[in-house]
């Protein structure tokens, strides 16, 4: 039953090299995310210098209260929101792609973003926008409810005995079309002001970020992340095919359903506050996969980091394209992400899916 006594140092060394390289990549992307946050906070119409920003962040010396408000009330929650939403979408996308064994799966392509848009549009049309206090609550609540409804429908489809991964994906795409049609209908019946509000929400925006919203998204990420990480090896095994995973002792069906619930929650919470930022959940995991492969111990956190980095860069770009104005971030994400993604795919040395 025992293997031979011969012990090959090169294999252990090779494994060590792989782990060190991946850890280094994660460290590097992590540093880039931190840099992104600083630059994001430093970017904006008020024209504060980097030293003023840093002083306001660490609160040393005499910081003008105006600076303190700009940094702590507006820019910091927005910059950190970009990070947590990007991370949530990145992780959600990575696990959707894994459990459905499909490179196209993401919170956007499975209809979660579209259903959130529908929920927000519904709240606007039903008149929530008229009352300012209700708007801040009702829009995300309605968006979240619809996103969860969509996820539930996908989950129910997955629960049907014999439903294949393809069925789940096709169901998700069908829901995407359904909710898009729903949004179209609501836009058609909406008044001009409502139409503007819906369109603005769908563009996606981080500008409404507050510490409370940030805490909700970060909290969800902090809870679901470890729950997903526990299954890291099993999720990796899933990509070998269901039969091999089952032969390895993985309860494939239960793992798929549990993961689907967790990533649905994660993506619903992320999109309900910021609108349609669909591209991140699709491209973040692919970039991570190109860099570290599919060992989920590295792919999962790195997908979060690449998602965070992409959204952070998009947030900076959205404030820099037109000086003095904030360009919708959902648009900025896709415009920036597509060339970046295309370059990574074209320059890749090995197959990544």
């Amino acid at each position: 039953m025992k293997g031979p006594a011969a012990y090959s140092e090169p294999v252990v060394a090779a494994y060590g090299r792989l782990v060190r390289w991946r850890t280094a990549v994660m460290g590097l992307v992590g540093c880039l995310v931190a840099t992104g946050v600083i630059v994001d906070i430093a970017t904006g119409p008020a024209g504060l210098t980097v030293s003023e920003i840093l002083a306001a962040i660490v609160r040393v010396g005499s910081v003008p209260s105006q600076h303190d408000v700009i940094v702590w009330t507006f820019r910091m929650p927005t910059a950190l929101m970009a990070v947590v939403v990007g991370a949530a979408l990145g992780v959600a996308g990575a696990e959707m792609q894994t459990i459905l064994n499909n490179p196209l799966a993401s919170p956007y392509t499975l209809g979660v973003s579209a259903s959130a848009s529908f929920g927000a549009a519904l709240a606007v049309v039903l008149g929530a926008g008229a009352i300012p206090l209700v708007e801040t609550l009702a829009l995300p609540a309605s968006a979240f409810a619809m996103a969860m409804l969509c996820s539930l429908a996908i989950y129910a489809l997955a629960r049907i005995k014999g439903a294949s991964r393809e069925t789940i994906i096709l169901g998700g795409v069908a829901l995407l079309f359904l909710f898009n049609a729903g949004v179209g209908l609501l836009k058609y019946v909406a008044s001009e002001e409502q139409l503007a509000a819906i369109t603005f929400w769908i563009f996606g925006s981080l500008q409404g970020a507050t510490w409370t919203k940030l805490a909700v998204v970060a909290g969800t990420l902090a809870v679901t992340g470890p729950l997903l990480a526990v299954h890291a090896w099993k999720l990796t095994a899933l990509r070998l095919g269901d039969d091999r995973a089952r032969s390895l002792g993985v309860n494939v069906r239960r793992l798929r359903l549990t993961t689907l619930v967790l990533v649905s929650l994660l993506s619903a919470v992320a999109v309900c506050f910021v609108g349609t930022i669909g591209f991140i959940g699709f491209v973040g995991p692919h970039l991570a996969r190109i860099m570290v492969g599919e060992d989920q111990r590295f792919l999962m956190p790195l997908s979060g980091l690449t998602g965070a980095l992409l959204l952070s860069i998009a947030s900076i770009a959205s404030k820099s394209i037109f000086p003095g104005a904030v360009f919708p971030i959902g648009i900025a994400t896709a415009f920036m992400g597509v060339p970046f993604f295309a370059a990574m795919v074209l320059l890749r040395r090995r197959s990544y899916w």
């Binding site: 090959s8 099993k234 070998l240 095919g241 390895l248 197959s351």
Partner: protein, 269 residues
């Protein structure tokens, strides 16, 4: 360990694939042969617990339904026919996954020791850092086998492990399985199509036909002209090699006595 299937019957919806199959698999190499759709894969999938057949599967006389999944998946290792994957994993990670049953976040010394031993033994050590998607068919199959062996199974079920491989790789894999089976005292079962490879490497051959056991025993008693004519509908000459193992030379399609279906080996499949 001894793996037994008793009165195994299985149907995909209304399509009965296995009918009251009895198999007794002992340490050594067993080959399961039979035409396409004879039920070879289904039998292996029932034996390893991926399918729930009627009848019972017993592990050293203990019903597998009473064996916890974690324990069963450690004892019985099954490798499906299609081992192709697009997963971007290095060879060493892929083999490590084979020890999933006890793998912590960081692989233990023991995990790395077993994986290292296997990569050395299967001559894959130089490929350790390569991505499995970049390997040739033969290399990929060796990595899949290494993964199946990584949990140090007592019972190894392989579904056509040499399908689509050239002669050298077929022999390489079969000799390796022969050697490992003996050195580890494993019960190795291989579903296969090549009668001569089966005759050369197996201690026991089971012949399946239409979901039932046609015959079983040592290759010398099973590989006969009449078995090949009735199961494969092919006339063959069966000679003996110098070492006594049978050598099958297929000659022509035999005239079928029944008219149930077209020729299984005909152009329509």
């Amino acid at each position: 360990m001894i793996l037994e299937g008793k009165n195994l019957s299985f149907a995909y919806r209304s399509d009965r694939v296995l009918h009251d199959v009895d198999v007794r698999l002992e340490p050594g190499v067993t080959a399961i042969i039979g035409p396409n759709a004879a039920g070879k894969s289904t039998l292996l999938r029932c034996l390893c617990g991926l399918l729930k057949p009627r009848g019972s599967v017993q592990l050293d006389g203990r019903d597998v339904r009473n064996v916890p999944v974690a324990e069963r998946s450690r004892i019985i290792s099954y490798l499906p026919q299609d081992t192709s994957t697009q997963a971007v994993l290095s060879v060493v990670e892929s083999v490590l996954l084979g020890r999933l049953h006890g793998l912590g976040w960081r692989p233990s010394e023991e995990d790395l020791r077993v994986v290292t031993g296997l990569l050395d033994e299967l001559d894959l050590a130089d490929l350790a850092e390569r991505s499995i998607t970049e390997l040739s068919g033969g290399q990929g199959q060796m990595v899949a086998l290494a993964q199946a062996l990584a949990r140090e199974p007592d019972i190894l079920l392989l579904d056509e492990p040499t399908a689509n491989l050239d002669l050298e790789h077929q022999f390489e894999i079969c000799s390796l399985m022969r050697r490992l089976t003996e050195s580890r005292g494993m019960t190795t079962v291989m579903a296969m199509h090549d009668l001569n490879v089966a005759a050369r490497f197996a201690d026991v051959v089971y012949v399946l036909q239409d979901g039932a056991v046609h015959s079983h025993g040592p290759a010398t008693t099973v590989m006969t002209h009449s078995m090949i004519a009735s199961v494969y509908h092919v006339n063959a000459r069966v000679a003996a090699c110098p070492d006594g193992r049978p050598l099958v030379t297929p000659l022509e399609l035999a005239v079928r006595e029944d008219n149930r279906r077209g020729h299984p080996s005909g152009p329509t499949g």
